[in-house]
């Protein structure tokens, strides 16, 4: 019963996220609404973290696996990329690494700045 209840809670949040997604014009997906919603529920003690602990750990382990079918879909859509293949690869690979380094550099700077101030 414990696991069924955990599954029910996560489905309920997914349902709420999907509903919000359909109700609002902004291109914010159900998963982002759901993530924020679940976080708020946990933070304001509407849901105790123990009430979803086991199943959420299991789902987080599954996360990479759920993405595999989407990457298989990529191979199917390779044709549409042909016309813009070179810029797509430059941006997808090099651009991703550069963006990551810029964001990481900014975050590292802010973390060290806070540590220096000893807060």
């Amino acid at each position: 019963m414990k696991y069924v209840r955990q599954f029910f809670i996560i489905l309920l949040v997914s349902l709420a996220g999907e509903t919000l997604h359909c109700l609002t014009p902004a291109p914010i997906p159900a998963s982002v609404y759901g993530l924020v919603l679940l976080f708020l529920c946990l933070e304001f003690k509407a849901i105790r973290v123990e009430a979803i602990a086991e199943l959420s750990s299991f789902f987080l382990v599954l996360l990479p696996l759920t993405l595999v079918p989407l990457t298989v879909g990529l191979i199917d859509s390779l044709e549409v990329l042909q016309k813009v293949l070179v810029p797509a690869l430059i941006l997808g690979v090099l651009g991703t690494i550069l963006t990551s380094l810029a964001a990481g550099g900014a975050a590292e700077w802010a973390v060290r700045r806070r540590e220096r101030r000893g807060k």
């Binding site: 998963s31 987080l60 996360l63 549409v80």
Partner: protein, 238 residues
């Protein structure tokens, strides 16, 4: 004899469980390889993709049937992403104290992304629709598709480039970060989430709970930042 094996192959091919079994089996094998060789080159998602493709070829399953049969896994993307709220909740004290790091990573990441896409679009003389399509490359697919549709881009290309960015971030995100002296778990998590959404976050979760929490947070914030910046980016001259 051949007719017997042909019959077996047909039964397997028309079996809805084959696609799922191939995918989960491929991923399991990929995890075992990664554990054995402990190298970032043995990326589970990428190897699982490769093994699944080999399986599809072997059993002559077309992508259309694969997509239909693997739908239960795709259906789980939303509930599993939502569960990122749990590490975020557990690490929230750390997030609160490092709000500046969170904000600067997402804002800098979003702006650098726009700049890079604009530069490449100019260098390759891309059309406006292609430029707007590439703009969403770092963010989660559902937001990216929304932006692309709004500005008349090509949705199929958006999905492709988002996947390429995701696999890149998942594969070598942490390697380049460490080489560049970006060492704190918070900065690493943010950097991975900003550039490669849920795919990267899957890797960040392997690094640790702090990395996973910050990476998950970065998905949501970078997505929203990109939505906010897109109108201004659409006005840049090509």
């Amino acid at each position: 004899m051949t007719t017997f094996w042909d019959a077996v192959a047909t039964i397997l091919r028309e079996n809805g469980y084959l696609s799922l079994t191939l995918t989960v089996g491929g991923y399991l094998l990929a995890l075992a390889l990664q554990r054995r060789y402990k190298s970032t080159l043995f990326n589970p998602v990428l190897i699982a993709l490769f093994l699944t493709l080999v399986g599809l070829k072997l059993f002559e399953i077309d992508y259309e049937s694969y997509r239909r049969d693997a739908a239960p896994l795709t259906f789980l993307v939303t509930p599993t992403t939502i569960c990122l709220a749990v590490p975020l909740y557990r690490q929230f004290e750390l997030v609160r104290r490092n709000w500046l790091a969170v904000l600067s990573a997402c804002v800098v990441g979003t702006l650098v992304n726009v700049l890079l896409v604009w530069l490449v679009a100019r260098a390759f003389q891309l059309e406006y629709a292609e430029y707007m399509t590439f703009l969403s490359k770092s963010i989660t697919m559902a937001i990216g598709v929304g932006i692309t549709e709004e500005y008349g881009g090509y949705v199929a290309i958006t999905c492709a480039i988002i996947t390429i960015a995701g696999v890149t971030g998942n594969m070598c995100g942490s390697y380049f970060l460490k080489k560049s002296g970006i060492l704190s778990p918070m900065a690493q998590g943010l950097a991975i989430g900003v550039c490669s959404h849920a795919f990267g976050t899957a890797r960040a979760l392997e690094l640790g709970e702090t990395e996973g929490a910050f990476s998950g947070l970065a998905i949501a914030l970078t997505g929203v930042c990109t939505v906010l910046v897109a109108p201004a980016a659409s006005l840049l001259p090509l």
